[in-house]
């Protein structure tokens, strides 16, 4: 039997004006197990807390009930108080007689009666409370960033800046991501390379940052503070420690018909290649599908010209296992190939390109050296049509339901750059809505229209067909309510962006949740936007939703701040109100694991002694560091083996009984 003390707070007149506090204390004193009851003006004050502490010592209390304001207000305070007096902080329950009683009722008799019942429920619960201890788990002071685009780089640099080691895993041979392919950036028109490459160099040279390029995450085990990750290093067939990045091999390689991914296939690269001049690390990679030696055993020219002796055709994939305290997902996006949108003719006509392809055609380091030329004939275009929302904001199965967010702005940028470089080119943009929320965004768009004379037409393009080398564009003008037929030399499609394909299997490995579009879900849409609901997994950049560069970078830094906050701790104190499974009751049926949002439940074969028999059984085991204590598993468990500490089945039923008495 517990020895319970009841403390009724007046909260000045907040409670005492409508609740007869003395009567509450007096009545609750006669409840079973209650050995002490009193009331006081302000229980949360220093002297109020002293009353509690003294009573605990004097009456050897094992449990405490405080009738006061909401537990959301002072539960933490009173837990500390009782702990200071030597009893477990979880032997405390609060009856909310202010927010849920005195403040909402006028009639004193009625309010007093309700306060007594709420007190009884709390007493009934305390009878079944058990001391709980927060588990401590150590934190590995290293972070893993998956993805080496601008989001991953920014997060890694910020974490490194705080003094923590951070590894970046990038599946491409170089970090840099999509931003490295861009020409200029909105709304300031500074060049992407000029602002990105210094950051890439920083990441490459920072002592605290390790780059694992041409690598993929293979396996993730563990939980917040203690992840164990296996990274797969794909073979480069080049010894990265020896390669100087001189590029001799790349120019000598006789295999020259391989589309250059970095330039969106507008030109070719050798079988051995360095993706672009500013690549970090600047190390050559051999594509075994393109390499003549790897396919036929004859050639080996690159090995001959390499003075560093870095070429190694025998290289095998390697696996590296490391421990991390936190994992950041920064897997980014891809632009869809609009092959399903036959009306735009992307599959048939070379002069119909996506906006990312257009970026390369405009880029000084691109296949045309920055001269905008029609891919079909290498001549300068005179009329360009931009089509917005290709595959975004649609209802059909080929469409994404969401807005890709960046297209309005980069199209304004493209239009402006074209007009800037080639003022005589006629530029038309077909749009559904122009969305420009963002600092200096609307001003930027208005400049395109007002200063540069870009034609914006509200309406969608219905058809693009080529006739005698000219693209015939059919479209509607919704404002003029007219059909438009227009000739164009190039059509640029603002195709939707979607999460990288590697995100879905990664989410499964991380037990991090995703939405139906394969964007990672944040822990709270408003209040915890850079954390995944799975503890220790953080989200940076477009893996969480479409974002432009300024937004990506701010989110990346916010994400780093959250990671630093975690890594700065030596130990994590876990919430002790977690689920646990009673091994003699557990059926091992896996139903609980099916509903756990955190992947906190695993199963193990355990020797169990039950009803005098010792046998091996499949038993659910809750990882207390991962469990957040929602209780979904407890209800799905038919045998009642799964219960929640602090909100146990019997405790809640005792409250029900006390209320319904």
């Amino acid at each position: 039997m517990q020895r319970i003390g009841v403390f009724v707070c007046w909260c000045g007149t907040n409670i005492a004006a409508t609740v007869d506090v003395a009567k509450v204390a007096e009545t609750l004193k006669s409840e079973p197990g209650v050995v002490f009851a009193t009331d006081y003006q302000y229980m949360c004050s220093a002297s109020g807390q002293e009353i509690i502490k003294n009573a605990i010592k004097e009456h050897n209390l094992t449990g405490v009930v405080i009738c006061s304001c909401s537990p959301r207000m002072h539960e933490a305070t009173f837990r500390k108080t009782v702990q200071a007096a030597g009893i477990n902080p979880y032997m405390l329950e609060i009856a909310n007689i202010r927010e849920q009683c005195s403040w909402i009722h006028k009639d004193k008799e009625e309010a007093t009666e309700k306060a007594i019942i709420l007190g009884r429920a709390a007493i009934a619960k305390v009878h079944l409370n058990a001391p709980l201890t927060s588990m401590e788990s150590p934190v590995v002071k290293r972070a893993l960033v998956i993805g080496g685009g601008i989001a991953g780089i920014q997060t890694a640099l910020d974490i490194a800046d705080a003094g923590f080691e951070v590894d970046i895993v990038e599946k491409q041979p170089t970090i840099g991501g999509k931003m490295a392919q861009l020409d200029k950036t909105f709304p300031t028109l500074d060049c992407a390379a000029c602002i990105l490459t210094p950051k890439m160099v920083d990441a490459g040279s920072n002592d605290k940052v390790n780059l694992y390029t041409y690598c993929e995450v293979d396996k993730v085990e563990g939980f917040v503070g203690n992840f164990k990750v296996t990274i797969k290093q794909k073979p480069r067939y080049v010894d990265a420690t020896k390669c100087t990045g001189c590029g001799e091999c790349t120019t000598k390689c006789p295999s020259r018909k391989n589309p250059n991914e970095f330039n969106m296939g507008f030109d070719n690269r050798g079988a051995v290649y360095i993706p672009f001049a500013q690549a970090v690390p600047k190390v050559a990679t051999i594509d075994p599908d393109d390499c003549i030696y790897m396919k036929t055993g004859k050639c080996g020219l690159c090995a001959k010209v390499c003075t560093a002796g870095a070429i190694n055709y025998e290289q095998k994939e390697e696996f590296i296992t490391k421990e991390y305290g936190a994992i950041v997902v920064a897997t980014g996006y891809n632009q869809i190939k609009p092959t399903e949108f036959e009306e735009y003719g992307y599959n048939n006509y070379k002069d119909v390109v996506t906006s990312l392809e257009f970026e390369r055609l405009m880029n000084a380091a691109g296949p045309t050296g920055g001269h905008l030329l029609r891919p079909s004939n290498g001549k300068e275009p005179k009329k360009i049509v931009f089509v917005q929302c290709v595959g975004s904001r649609g209802q059909s199965c080929r469409d994404k339901s969401y807005c890709s967010k960046i297209c309005c702005m980069y199209t304004a940028k493209h239009a402006m750059l074209v007009k800037d470089h080639y003022p005589d080119v006629d530029v038309t943009v077909f749009y559904i809505d122009v969305r420009t929320p963002g600092k200096n965004f609307d001003e930027f768009y208005r400049r395109a229209v007002e200063e540069f004379g870009v034609h914006y037409i509200k309406g969608m393009v219905g058809k693009v067909e080529e006739e005698d080398g000219v693209l015939k564009v059919q479209a509607s003008d919704l404002l003029a309510n007219a059909q438009i037929h227009m000739d164009a030399d190039m059509v640029v499609l603002a195709a939707a962006i979607e999460p990288d394909k590697s995100a879905r299997p990664l989410a499964t490995m991380l037990t991090a949740s995703m939405d139906t579009n394969d964007f990672f879900t944040e822990a709270h849409a408003k209040l915890r936007p850079v954390e995944s609901p799975t503890a220790g997994i953080f989200l940076s950049g477009t893996c969480q939703g479409p974002k432009d560069i300024p937004e990506t970078v701010s989110q990346a830094s916010a994400c780093a701040a959250k990671v630093i906050g975690l890594l700065a701790k030596d130990h994590l104190l876990c919430n002790p109100c977690v689920a646990h499974s009673n091994e003699t009751l557990c059926n091992g049926c896996s139903t609980c694991a099916n509903v756990c949002p955190y992947g906190a439940i695993t199963y193990e074969d355990r020797l169990v002694m039950d009803k005098g028999v010792r046998e091996t059984r499949r038993i659910a085991v809750v990882n207390e560091a991962v469990c957040q204590g929602c209780g979904a598993c407890t209800v799905t468990c038919p045998s009642g083996a799964m219960d929640l500490k602090g909100f146990a089945n019997r405790q809640i039923m005792a409250e029900v009984d006390a209320i319904c008495r």
Partner: protein, 147 residues
Amino acid sequence: MQVEEKKEFTPLIVAFCCNWCSYAGADLAGSNRLNYPANVKIIRVPCSCRVNPLFILRAFQRGADGVIMCGCHPGDCHYTTGNYYARRRMTTLFSMLDYLGIEKERTRVEWVSAAEGVKFAATMKDFAETIQKLGENRKLRDLRCEK
């Protein structure tokens, strides 16, 4: 249905509220001094998915006249998915109780966010009025016990 009108009848109502949204919504109703009937008694649970049908049956067994469960709005669950499970559980349970002859109006689910103090108070008021009209819960008493 025929229930003898007892003038002094005050229904007993148990409200399960999730800690993160609805309990906070109830607190907000309190801070704003929004009145709702005193016969509504709140039990705090971490999430609506913690509410076991056993608790609801237990309340009816012990004489509750109505049971209401409140949680975060679907999509806003603190634990991401808890209220989605709760929604299916309560829908099927309530349908079963109705099938057994416990009036369906005696059970209710309402999503109340931490910002919806007004909605919380209004919901409780409305629910209490509904139960008041329905009268005392008959419970699925065993016929043999009436001898």
